[in-house]
Symmetry: C2
Subunit: 188 residues, 2 copies
Amino acid sequence: MKGDRSIYFVSGNRGKYNEVARIAETFGLRLKWIRRAKREIQSDNLREIARRAAKDLSDEIGLPVVAEDSGFFVDALGGFPGPYSAYVHRTIGTDGILRLLRSVTLRDACFKAAVAFCEPSSHPISFSGTIEGTVSIQSKGNHGFGFDPIFVPNGGHGRTFAEMNTSEKNSFSHRSKAFSKLFNSLTK
Amino acid sequence: MKGDRSIYFVSGNRGKYNEVARIAETFGLRLKWIRRAKREIQSDNLREIARRAAKDLSDEIGLPVVAEDSGFFVDALGGFPGPYSAYVHRTIGTDGILRLLRSVTLRDACFKAAVAFCEPSSHPISFSGTIEGTVSIQSKGNHGFGFDPIFVPNGGHGRTFAEMNTSEKNSFSHRSKAFSKLFNSLTK
């Protein structure tokens, strides 16, 4: 894929779109937003979820589609909330995670993202990215979305993702790593 | 559907199969167990999950299939863990729910089940059942599975589902209500 073709990013989440559009720009790509929730299979596998979503939608609309799935994995909770992070955030929220970790000292966690790109009637390609860190003691910051206010990435000087602006978060994030691999493969 | 035809119940959960086989017996139906996890779409809608699973598998194997999906909904947690109960049980478990509800006095909760039956190349039929109750202060009992040790059904004299044997649980349960409606419709 070369030149000026557009890529269509499906997501119901404005925060994700903003992050990804910024990354696309740095690769000289135009990202168009299909603002709707991607169709999801129930699976523990982020990459499988992203691949199926990209494939189904690209076949449906006849355009090149990129879909992403990501999750927040807390070691002390057996990987919870993992692939169900969006649902868990809507229900028990960041407070619920902090409550589950009250008096827990081992607070290792990571964010993972998988991204898949598919052209109509073709097979998807996919990439993933991870950022390790810890769960903060309390919620901090107003940027970002989801569990950003309670995640302190390694190398981030003790600040949560929600205390960083988009470009600083992109210099660390799981999503940025996954999308950079994709955009790199599409533009080389 | 009359007479002696078998129905195939897909589930990876032996506890569920045991409960449902007992209910089927009371309707004079033979339930055969397809011991594998049903294929699940990611949805907040139990009935949709059950219908799609029954339809897909019955078309695949050419036999009449029954599939069930159920969830545990805690009012004070915005309905969490809901349709993702199995995953939440595997990760944070009953202890996680008790931890989230520590010092919470309004402990209303319910179990919901949806069941769908589908014959090959046909449309599924589906039914649902609910049992209201409360979340106990601590885990009690060894019967059942999942969140049974922390759920006290209304009318159950303060005991949890896990303190009841299968036939007593079936006299209350969401699952029993949904399956009784289905089996009633299949045998009348």
